[in-house]
């Protein structure tokens, strides 16, 4: 199997996994889902590191370094905001709110 077909197979399988995993997310948590997946999309930092890590210094390397910066803003910011949001969804003590 050529490399392209291998990658395409993986892509299609990932589509199915993604669909079933996301489908299970509670509608109440759609905002955190967006913000967590947004943080995870920062995974492109991998591509940026590969480019930024090369030996010779040229325009491409500078592009790579800048992309590392942007992606890490995306990652840290995304996870921090999700954590702040999800902290609010903490299980409330049952005595509160319901009649007691």
């Amino acid at each position: 199997m050529s490399s392209f077909w291998l990658l395409l197979t993986i892509f299609v399988l990932a589509c199915f996994i993604g669909y079933f995993v996301v489908k299970g997310v509670s509608p109440a948590l759609h905002s955190p889902l967006m913000s967590v997946s947004n943080a995870i999309s920062g995974i492109i930092i991998i591509g940026a590191i590969l480019i930024a890590g090369k030996q010779e210094t040229d325009l491409a390397k500078l592009f790579g370094l800048f992309a590392v910066f942007l992606a890490s803003v995306n990652i840290f910011g995304g996870f921090a905001i999700s954590q702040r949001m999800l902290r609010m969804f903490k299980k409330k003590t049952k005595t509160e709110g319901k009649k007691s």
């Binding site: 997946s37 591509g47 590969l50 390397k61 803003v73 949001m85």
Partner: protein, 451 residues
């Protein structure tokens, strides 16, 4: 060494899947977020051991500055600014793919097609998010911005993108790549501009999906399996959310993107003159404390007035002092991002067990004594079921009119975002409470407590 890296990548893929899986329930959601962070850290660490990576210092430096800067903003920003923060971070992720695609093109053996695709999607994600951010932050008018010939211009731009992309693929001349970048950025701006405030949940989800699909393209271009899998999960999640949002409005994605929703119907909407019955907060308090069951329907107006905390007090007073059953009903597109109302109610410490989605609660309105609609309009409009000429026809609504009494907390009798008059305002069982959502609810709470 490479097998260790592959093992680490595999582990991080599993962590990402478990991370999203954790969001299935509020109780496990925080673990999910932490798993996601571990996954990305593991992947980054493993990448540093790749044979291609020779230089570490500046990369570390960039991660550190980027991380500190964003943590500073992420922890300082107010909870009300969440939607625009998400848009901002999303945009930066898109811009990162633009630069990666650019760097890939500059390399000796570029994968032109995949990189161009990554560039186009990333650029649209970036410029679209910039507009979404500006609208949510109030830097530009959140209203739909439509001008003559807009769709023709967009079509021309799309043709320009296709032709400059083909020219670049055929000739390899980098000049066309720069033109392609420019056109993609412009089309991202233009496509987001005509999208009005209430359509924000859709467009934010779409932009979220784009940043994932951009990562997939970059993955194909760099032959990186991890990027492909994770990008697909993100892209799929955004696509799923946009589908859920458009379904909740009974509109197609194309219809949302073409924009200008409701602009035409405004004249007709203001022509009708009927009188609505008004009530005072005292009346509302009296009716609710004698009720058996009250269902509260929050909308964007609650978010604007920051009324969720006082709303919690009202719910608690009703439950504790008067033994009333109180439930919250949430429409999928209420607010400015998917699940916006849930986050606000959670912020006010309202137990998520009391918060119900549209399908779960709709049949309960007929057994409710009071429906308390606070800052919502279109999502309760019965015309969506009865009037096939209405722009909101077919949109699933919260059937508040089935409750014995309906209270609408609103600033004025004006029509909602869709520009459609809500006949419910003039229904015999509807009472209007005019004023700011927070002020009105505060007065009700006072009346509930001092008796």
């Amino acid at each position: 060494m490479t097998s260790y890296i592959s093992a680490a990548y595999l582990a991080s893929v599993i962590l990402f899947i478990l991370s999203i899986r954790g969001l299935a329930h509020p109780a496990t959601a925080r673990h999910g977020n932490i798993l996601g962070f571990i996954g990305i850290s593991l992947a980054v660490l493993a990448t540093f051991f790749m044979p291609e990576v020779h230089d570490y210092f500046w990369t570390f430096f960039m991660i550190l500055t980027g991380g500190c800067l964003s943590l500073f903003f992420a922890f300082r920003v107010k909870m009300t600014s969440l939607p625009q923060m998400i848009a901002a971070f999303n945009g930066l992720g898109g811009l990162a793919s633009v630069f990666i695609a650019g760097a890939e093109i500059l390399s000796d053996t570029p994968t032109k097609f995949e990189s161009s695709l990554g560039l186009i999607i990333g650029a649209i994600a970036f410029s679209g998010s910039v507009i979404a951010f500006a609208k949510l932050q109030g830097l530009i008018s959140p209203k739909a911005f439509v001008f003559r010939g807009q769709q023709i211009l967009n079509l021309l731009l799309a043709l320009g993108i296709i032709s400059s992309c083909s020219l670049f693929l055929l000739s390899g001349d980098i000049k066309y790549f720069y033109i392609l970048s420019l056109l993609s950025l412009i089309i991202g701006f233009l496509v987001t501009l005509p999208i009005g405030g209430a359509d924000m949940p859709v467009i934010i989800s779409v932009l979220n999906a784009y940043s994932g699909w951009a990562a997939v393209s970059i993955g194909f271009s760099l032959n990186n399996i991890l990027l492909i899998i994770v990008g697909t999960i993100v892209g799929g999640s955004g696509t799923f959310l946009s589908h859920a949002m458009t379904k909740a409005m009974n509109r197609s994605l194309l219809n949302v993107i073409l924009g200008g929703f409701g602009l035409k119907d405004q004249k007709q909407a203001t022509a009708n003159e009927q009188t609505a019955q008004t009530a005072t907060p005292q009346d509302a308090a009296f009716l609710m404390e004698n009720a058996n069951k009250v269902i509260i329907v929050p909308g964007y107006g609650m978010a604007v007035a920051q009324a969720q905390h006082i709303l919690k007090e009202m719910a608690e007073d009703l439950q504790k002092l008067y033994g009333v059953e109180v439930k919250f009903a949430i429409h999928p597109v209420a607010g400015r991002m998917p699940g916006h109302m849930n986050v606000l109610l959670a912020e006010a410490n309202i137990p998520y067990e009391d918060v119900y989605e549209l399908e779960q609660i709709n049949r309960e309105f007929s057994t409710a004594d009071v429906a308390y609609v606070i800052g919502a309009n279109d999502i309760t409009n019965p015309l969506a079921r009865t009037d096939s000429s209405s722009p909101i026809f077919g949109m699933p609504i919260l059937e508040v009119e089935k409750a014995k009494t309906v209270f609408f907390v609103k600033r004025s009798l004006g029509s909602g975002y869709a520009g459609v008059e809500n006949p419910l305002f003039f229904a015999p069982n509807t009472l209007m409470l005019y004023g700011d959502a927070k002020d009105v609810t505060e007065q009700i709470v006072e009346n509930l407590e001092h008796k």
